[in-house]
Structures are given as C-alpha cells and as structure tokens.
Symmetry: C2
Subunit: 493 residues, 2 copies
C-alpha cells in the first residue's frame, strides 16, 4: 500500500467549513477560514526566518490564539514541533531542546526571562519571538500530511531521570481523534472547552479534534472554575477536559446549580476519581467520562462511559475502538482479575522515543507499548489501574516523576541518596515529598536543598518537604521501595 | 510503518458495547453480543464446509438478519466476499463467480431456481445453503483486520460490456465510515434505516458503520414507503439512505405530515435530485444530504450539507474530510467553472479491479481514480456532476450500463448494432431504451428481442422498448453518440 496521507487538516477544514466557528479565545471567535488565514501568514513569517520542511522547531507557548496558530503554521511548513512545557526551568527546557536536535525555538515576549537563560545555555539556538517576526513572507504549504510523518515530540519522564521525547505522528493524532469520536460521538453544536495546556497531549489533542471534526473549541489561557462554569452554563460548551483537581474546583463553584442538558461530557483524566466526586456528579446529572491515557497514546486510550461511572467505580473503562489492551505478568497474559502490567496497542500509540532506540525497544514490542502501569481487567473487560508507572505523582494535572527529582537531589554534594514519593494535597491532588540521606558528616537544611531544587526543576516538581533519614528502604536487589516511603510518611506526618 | 490493523470489528464492538441494539429486523432487535454470537456460530458452520482464511466466497443474499450474519462470519474467517446482486440472472451471476476465481457460493433456499441454473453452468462450484449447514463447527476467528486486506469484491460495469470486480479493502470500508462520521456526526440515539440492498455499497456501508460506530441499524428486506415512514415517525430512526425514486415515494406517502425533530439525515444518492423534491423537503423541514459516490469509493465521497440544499441546487457538495477531488481535462486540472472529468482520491478509494490490471491502470493513476463522470467545481469548491460515466442509467437505485445491454443485443444473430440510452420514468427515475439496427434482410420483433435479453440480463436492465432504425449516430472515430440517441428519442416518443 502507498503510504497513507490526508489533505492538510486545517486548510482542508477551512475549505470544507470556512464559516464555522473554530476557536473562541477571550471573547473573540475565529472561523476556520480566519484561522487558516492567520496560519498562512504565520507560516510565511516563519519561512522568512529559514524554517522549512524537514526541520524541527521547539515551541514555548501559552494557551492563546497565537499558540494555536504557530502550531498549525509549523504543520503547514512540514516542520516537526517539539512541544515544551512552559512551567519548566530554563535548564529543563534547554536540555529538551538540545536532546531533540532542534535548532529553532518559537516563543513570545512574556517568557523573556526564561528565554534569555535558555539563550545563555544554548548560544547557537535560533530564537524567534512571534511578535518580532517580519511580515510578508510567503511559504510553500504542505498540501497533504503523511500519517507516518512525525508531527510533534513531547517530553515525558519515566523510570529513569532523563525525560524522553515521545514521537507523535500525524497518524497518531488522527487515530486518537477518530477513536474518541467513535466513543463520544459528534454533535453539530459541539463546543470543547480547553483549559488544559496545549503543550500537553490533553490540550493538543483538542486542537487536533478542532480541525479534524470541524468542531468549535473555547480556549482558556488558564483554568478558572468560574469562567469554565460560565462557559458551560451560558456559552454552549458541551464538552470539557479536566483532571480531578479541576473537577473539584468546578463542583465547589457550582454550589447548588448544575449544567444545561446540552452539556454532554466531562472528560476526566489523570487517575481515578474519588468516589465522593463521582457521587456529586451523579446527583447533579453531570456525565463524567473517566479516562486513562498518556503522552505515548496521544491522549485517551481507555475510557469509562458515564452509565458505568457508579457501577464500575475506580475503573478507567474499556479501550477506544481502534485500540487494544492486555495485562501481562512475566511475559504471560493475565486472566481477568489478576494484576500485571498494562500493555496497549493501536494506531494512536507512539512508534517510539526520539533518538532513544534502547528505551523504545524496552517499551514497545511488536506494536505493543508496555506502559509500566499496573492494573487488572474485571470479568467484563473493564480496566482498573492499580499504580501509575514509577510511582507517578500527578500534581494539578502535571506528571511528576520521583526519579527525576531524586536524580537532581542526588547530584547535590552533600546528598548520599534520595527517595521521592507523593503525598495527598487538597489543592493539587498530590505533591512530591523527598526523603534524603546525607553523606556521613554532612549537614544540610531543608530550605537550602529545596532552593537547590528550584534551579533545576519546574515549580510543580519541587517537594513540599525534605525529610532527613538514616537510610532508604530497598529490596534485595537494592531497588528503592517507594511504597515503603509512603508508609514511613505516615509515621512522620 | 507496520501494516495498519484494527481489532475484528463486530467482535470488538460486542466486547465494548455488548448490550447496545445492533440490528432491528422484522420487529426483533439483536444486540451486538447476540449478533456476534450468531456470527461465531455461522463461522463455525462455514468452517466445517472447508472455508478458511485466504479463500474467497460469493454470497447471494437478501436484506435479512442471516445475510448480515453471513457477511460478518466470512470476515471472521478471513474469507474475501464476492457480493452478488440478487436481481441478476443465473448467467450474470455465474459470470461474476467465475471471473472472481471463487469456489464457493453461500446463499439460501429462496433463490433455489437461480441457484440450480448457476449450478448447471458452474458444476464445480461449492454451493452452500445457509439453512442446510451442519451445526457445531468451531472456527478460528480473525482477531484483527488488516486494513490493506481485501474485504469485499463488488461487480460494476462501465464503458465496456463486461462487469469488473471492484476490490474493497477493510481500510476502504473503515475510511468511508470515518469520513462519513466526520461529516454527519454521531449521536448516541442514532438509528440508520437500511432498505437499500446490502449487496450494494450503499447498504453494505451501513452495515460497516453499524459495527464501527456501535450504531443501531433498522434493516428492511425491501423498501416500502409506509414502513419506512412509520419507522422514522414512530420508531426513532434518525438517518435513512435513499435514492430519488425512494424519496419520491416517501414524500407521497407522507402527505400532510412530516418527521420528528430527531430525524436528522435523509442521505440521498444516485444523482442530483429534482428541484421540486428538494423544495418539498425544505417546506417539511426534512434535512436532505445529497451525495455522490460509487462502488469504487466505497459509497459517498462527496456530500452536500442540508444548509446548502437550496442555494446549491444540483450540487453534490464537497468531499468528505479524508478525500480529495479535482476536475481534469486532457491531463490538466480545470479552473473552477470549467467542466472536465471528475477525479478523486482518498483512503476510501479502491486500489483496483480484481484481475484487471489494464482496467485498473486505466482508471487509477498515482492514487487518483478517474471516474469517467463529467462535472465542474464552482468558485467555492462545490461539485456539480454533469453526466455520469458511460451515460449511466440509474433505475430504481440500480446502476444500468448501456454498454452491457448493447453487448447482449449485439450478440443476437439478427442484430447488426445496438445503442442504449436512458429515458425518464415516473416510478424508476430512469429506464433503458434500445435502438437496434438489424442485419440487412433480417427481421425481428421487439417482443422477441426483449425475451432474448431476459435470458442474459437482470429484469431492471431490460429495455422498456426496442426501436428499430437504419443506423446509429456515431462520431468521426465511429464512437457511438448516446446523447444523439436521446435526441432521437424525442422524435420517436
């Protein structure tokens, strides 16, 4: 078969549905034709700066209309996009830019402090500020997207300290959107509220659905529960993507009111929801779709329909139609009820990590991705996630990997070893907590170690506390037992 | 990239949505789990008879639950299906079975007369009657469908007399369903009424959507306007596929009434609709989606949304999202407004004709299918079809190719040459009309020539009249000018 390709998504959508609303941002609505026109212009500006098909370019953006336009403009040019998390430190950003072999960074003036630090670290980087780009360039625009081509690279950590760049092809994004539409359906008046970051797959996947479905997206620069509730109650929003902490805030703000009937999907990612939340939603008639997914699956891969939200409490649901799922232990497929590693496959699953053949081969075998997460299937095939990989901490919707924090702490000259685990937090869901063993004779204060962390780690990764101890719990193979840390935490608190 | 594959559609659907209604037929509703169970059983029975992965098998079916089950059962077994039009004569059927290199025919007792004639013509054919299959076999079931694999072969004629087997892969069916859902949307309560034949792509594509979307289908053995209207008005049908003649009958039966608001799509294929029909639909608030498509595009490829049905009268609309369209004349792409051949591409387009390398190479170049139909695009990109290929006659939703009838007539010993064209007909939309030049000195009666046709041609292909004449209109290159026949018809009528 010839390689599958599709007409350039936004351009095609602007041809098919020029006048439909595409993006609403800060009270202004852009039609698909307007979005295409802005994108063409931006592609021209970027082309003047030398960006061309086959290049890769990092982006440091906020959730705003320019951010959306830059992403499409880079697609138009055939440039692979490295999506940077704008909460990261200059050191973290630089590391990812360098790791991804990227010579360009597109950003905006609001990040000037970080950008000047990045420029110090990477003097050869071409730094392009959107507001300073010259007018008038005319770019050659990709007419078709090849589904096998890399669209985006998103960094994610894992069991090792260094983040890895997850390769997401146009096909991955396409199939993710298609898998979702076959599950959630598509109404003519659909409007998807996006207050999750567009540099994460949760937000980016909404932008992909935007053009593939021809569906309106209401974009928010940051999540504000009053604003989001108002959009649902008065502005026709029918679907919203949230994590538990956001849902909590929405419900608190809702008080005695609820949502109109047209609101049809509260898409809840980032781990199983507490029962009391689901109960409140049920009382209020809010349809919650719980999901399980990750950067490597280009967003949701398993989703629980609302009709099961009370009978299958704690379940993430069943796979989207194009995807498959099994549980494996020691190379064998587990029976229902038996716990093992969650293994997934499907055309939405990444083909691997950028420049990380080892990590790719370790994670993906014969098209199946070994997620590192633990779970089991019940007799009807519903997935229950027992433990996120590498004791993942989800803090305000951001993934925080203990290993990454441990690696930073361990580099401190006074630290012998460090162990990190998550602890409950009312506002963020979870926050990290560090256990540190100092070198013999060394002395350190919690405050100074946390200050040291701030240099290397984004704010959401900074441990709430550092607890000094004599030794860390390890198993026979000297593997750190983070669950034991959790128990100790109980003693300590 | 590894070849794309998806979990076995019906089996997967039965796992994901076991209890949802799948097919309603003659008042009984089968859930997806029931449909899967019936299919597994049928696959077992067929396996006993020797059918196995890689084989091909012709089917002669009606629109009933067994027909649906047989189609899925053959997919389960990995057997390619040759879909036979049950209106064809034994001679026509045998020709297609032989041409497709098929050793098996699955059918049912109601076709016994035709089947015994087919068995006479093809003594080596394994003829399997559904009602006589032994119980209890257990088949090895395909767990995944490879999108590049052939799912079905459907015969269609064209400019030459002999029909050609259009290869439809699983991918073609998949992308057709996806292209359609991105255009029409998908509601939880959708229910698609299927009174078009499941051996045609119009009907088969509904069965594919059935399992891919997890959407209910109401299946009718034959089209009855009262029954169809009742299903829309009282039984929750939201979408129906029709051709012009069917729409006419629906409207006549509707009289003063209309449809509930939940009814959201009258999908109208088979050529542009007469304006008065569209006006009646507009008055009644019936949302008509006009479409253009063919066996080679695995059903619709261009669709006109209802909001344009009055402003773009006569247009077939714009391509579905994954597909592309252009107009070509003498190898050049036409500007808007200029007429030329309609050329289409997309993942729903066939990769070719079975065992017809020449015809394939003639029709498909670099992934683009030359439809043979004439049309133009207006300035906004809406397609207007001017003339169906080879002066296609569409009679009651069936494609009738003049060349095929001419070829039969020309073989009669008394006939020197024959030309066929379509004429308007109140009930069928169009019917064929034959112009015949006899050999010098020969004598023939209309009645006898029509009788002769009946031996070779399905009833819907039999000309309404045979008109004897001295010569046929031909151009300088001796090409028959069927449009001139149309003019003569005026003189004659």
């Amino acid at each position: 078969m010839a390689e599958e390709k599709l007409p350039n998504w936004l351009k095609n959508r602007a041809h098919l549905s020029p006048d439909r609303p595409a993006i609403e941002f800060e009270g202004r609505t852009y039609s698909f034709l307007e979005l295409h026109t802005l994108t063409e212009k931006m592609a021209g500006k970027l082309a003047i700066k030398g960006l061309k098909a086959g290049d890769s370019c990092a982006v440091l953006l906020r959730n705003n209309i320019d951010g959306v336009v830059v992403i499409h403009a880079l697609f138009y040019l055939g440039v692979k996009i490295v999506m940077l998390n704008n909460k990261l430190t200059a050191k973290e950003l630089s590391w990812q830019i360098e790791d991804s072999d990227t010579g360009y960074l597109v950003s905006e003036g609001s990040f000037s402090d970080k950008l000047s630090d990045v420029a110090d670290i990477l003097p050869d980087l071409h730094l392009l500020l959107m507001e300073e780009l010259p007018e008038g360039g005319k770019a050659e625009i990709l007419q078709e997207f090849y589904l096998d081509d890399t669209a985006t690279i998103m960094y994610t950590s894992g069991t090792t300290g260094n983040p890895k760049g997850v390769i997401q092809t146009f096909g991955n994004h396409w199939w993710s959107a298609v898998g979702s539409v076959l599950n959630l359906g598509l109404h003519e008046d659909d409007s998807w509220y996006c207050a999750v970051p567009i540099f994460h797959i949760s937000g980016l996947s909404i932008l992909m659905k935007n053009v593939i479905y021809g569906m309106k997206v209401v974009l928010a620069e940051r999540f504000d529960e009053r604003e989001a509730n108002r959009s649902i109650q008065e502005n026709g929003v029918t679907i919203i993507s949230v994590v538990t902490a956001m849902l909590n805030r929405l419900l608190r703000d809702l008080k005695e009111t609820s949502y109109p009937n047209a609101f049809r999907c509260m898409l809840l990612g980032g781990g199983p929801a507490p029962i009391h939340l689901l109960e409140v939603c049920k009382e209020k008639g809010i349809p919650v779709y719980q999901t399980y997914g990750m950067t490597e699956t280009s967003s949701q891969i398993v989703t629980l329909a609302p009709e099961y939200s009370m009978t299958k409490i704690g379940s993430a649901g069943k796979p989207l139609f194009p995807s498959q799922l099994r549980i494996e232990l020691d190379g064998n497929i587990c029976e229902s009820g038996a716990a093992g590693e969650i293994v997934v496959s499907g055309p939405n699953v990444t083909k691997g990590y950028f420049n990380r053949l080892d990590a790719t081969q370790q994670a993906i075998a014969d098209g199946w991705l070994y997620t590192g997460d633990l779970g089991y299937l019940d007799e009807e095939g519903f997935l229950y996630v027992l433990d996120r990989r590498s004791d993942l901490i989800i803090s305000g919707g951001e993934n925080v990997y203990p290993a990454e924090i441990e690696s930073v702490l361990s580099k401190h000259p006074d630290v012998f070893e460090a162990g990190v685990t998550g602890t409950e937090d009312e506002k963020w869901g979870q926050v990290p907590l560090a256990f540190v063993v100092l070198h013999q004779g060394a002395e350190q204060k919690e405050k100074d170690l946390l200050e040291y962390c701030r240099e290397f780690l984004a704010p959401y990764k900074i441990p709430r506390n550092v607890i000094f101890c004599e030794e860390l719990p390890r198993n026979g193979a000297s593997k750190l037992l983070r669950r034991e840390l959790k128990k100790r935490m109980g003693d300590w608190q």
